[in-house]
């Protein structure tokens, strides 16, 4: 069996000032090429789990291993973020450059690619997602569905080995939702989707896991 992409051991995490922790002795594993959906009631820690993996939040106790490397410090997570993509719930949080092309090229530029190559990657990614002709569109003038697809392009442009998606289908119309489904089904990398839409998850993932305080198990 191949090495897991993500391993979490005995994680304890509580938000400051919260009366009880979100996770206590939480254990979790994600295997390569796994496509899983994360489900559970509001506030059960689905988004928190994604943010712990990206190092946006730090556990009070426990061990996180990503791609076989233990990660604990900001420096470790900087390396993680080069390989793991996170699609935020709200596209307005993700898109901050004036134009679409600049936003999609932002990640590759941060990875140290020269501008010409970054533009090339950005264009290819946009082409793949059917966003041809969006290069010079202004990000805040896009529709909700377009914003979501462009956000996905900004993440995929970094060529991640693992993708985390936080409620990607929320607020999208049927047509855009289908487009998104097909994009995800064509991806060759592992991903985890947080969603409340069982229909969307049944098409895009192999199994759904319930997020609890101690574990994250298939239903």
């Amino acid at each position: 069996m191949s090495e897991p992409l993500i391993e979490m051991y005995d994680i304890t995490f509580a938000y400051p000032g919260a009366s009880r922790p979100v996770f206590e002795d939480f254990n979790f594993q994600l295997l390569p090429e796994q496509h899983i959906g994360l489900v559970g009631p509001n506030g059960c820690g689905k988004t928190t789990l994604l943010h712990l993996i990206m190092g946006l939040l730090r556990p009070q106790a426990g061990k996180i291993v990503i791609f076989g490397q233990e990660v604990s410090k900001e420096k470790d997570f900087v390396a993680v973020r080069q390989k793991v993509g996170l699609l935020f719930q709200n596209a307005d949080d993700q898109l901050f450059c004036p134009t679409v092309l600049e936003d999609v090229a932002f990640g590759p530029l941060n990875q140290g690619k020269p501008p010409a190559e970054a533009v090339q990657i950005a264009r290819e990614t946009m082409e793949r997602l059917g966003l041809h002709g969006f290069e010079d569109r202004v990000t805040y003038k896009l529709s909700g569905g377009e914003k979501k697809l462009v956000s996905l392009a900004t993440v995929l442009a970094m060529r991640p080995q693992l993708l985390l998606l936080d409620e990607p289908s929320t607020g999208l119309d049927e047509q855009t939702k289908h487009r998104l489904m097909h994009i995800l089904m064509d991806l060759k990398i592992a991903y985890m989707i947080v969603s409340h839409e069982s229909d969307f998850l049944s098409h895009t993932t192999h199994e759904c896991c319930h997020v609890h305080g101690h574990c994250c198990k298939p239903e």
Partner: protein, 260 residues
């Protein structure tokens, strides 16, 4: 609800095609120079220079006039106050009030200066899209924080405006009508506070999203500016003109003042 309009930023005139860096440097020097000028000679010359730049930009005149009217509506009030309060020789009396000659001259000078600077900024700075302006500032080695501040304000102002409208709508649908009472003041205070809290939250999330995409404090720009011969000529000629303005200011200062 509309994003920030940049009606002057699009065009193909010479002023639009010039390198934004050169325009920024010239506009800044010009604004400082005109602002500190004390003579009508230098100010009027400055106004002439600004009008020349405006002619180069070939902007829709009507929109320029509208924008100037907005600025001048503030200056309009100066004409009521300054001549009456500025000490000097009275030229016009109205009961206990007296308008002084020096006051009138001074107000006139302020009016000319303000218009000269605004016209120059419209011609040189408003012809650059805000996003490009940020990149140009970055390129001119201005402090990173200043450039980021400009770019992020530009990007998120619209989002905050939308958020504000959503909150106001939510208040309205629950029957809120502004009146002169404590409830109204308190509700507006809540509105302002909520906007502040939300923007802080959003700032956090935007920063997180940027970190997830490998941001480490440095912006890489896709835009490359190309400095061409016309930019060199523009800056050189402008510097010469600015030097003439300095000369006019220092050469027998107060000449126009005394004659008027």
């Amino acid at each position: 609800m509309s994003p920030i309009g940049e009606p002057f930023s699009e065009g193909a005139s010479l002023a639009h095609r010039l390198d934004p860096r050169g325009k920024m440097v010239v506009a800044t020097l010009f604004a400082v120079l005109v602002a500190v000028a004390k003579t009508y000679t230098a100010t009027l010359a400055g106004l002439a220079v600004a009008l020349f730049w405006l002619a180069l930009a070939r902007l829709p005149l009507k929109k320029v006039v509208v924008r100037l009217l907005v600025v001048n509506s503030f200056i309009f009030f100066l004409w009521f106050v300054l001549p009456l309060t500025y000490p000097g020789e009275a030229v016009w009396r109205f009961g206990p009030l007296a308008a002084s000659r020096q006051g009138l001259l001074f107000t006139g000078l302020i009016t000319l200066k303000s218009n000269a600077i605004i016209i120059a900024l419209i011609a040189l700075i408003a012809t650059v899209p805000v996003a490009t302006l940020g990149q140009a500032m970055y390129n001119l080695r201005l402090p990173d924080k200043l450039c980021h501040l400009l770019l992020f304000t530009y990007r998120y102002l619209y989002v905050f405006e939308e958020e504000y409208h959503r909150l106001v709508q939510a208040m309205k649908v629950r029957g809120f009508q502004p009146r002169t009472n404590l409830h109204t003041y308190r509700s507006y205070a809540y509105l302002a506070a909520m906007l502040l809290v939300r923007s802080l939250d959003r700032a956090d999330r935007v920063f997180q999203a940027m970190r997830c995409r490998g941001f480490h404090g440095v912006f890489y720009s896709l835009r490359t500016f190309s400095w061409q011969r016309r930019d060199g000529i523009f800056v050189a000629v402008s510097m010469l003109v600015l030097m003439i303005l300095v000369f006019l200011e220092w050469w027998r200062p107060g000449l126009m003042w005394r004659r008027l």
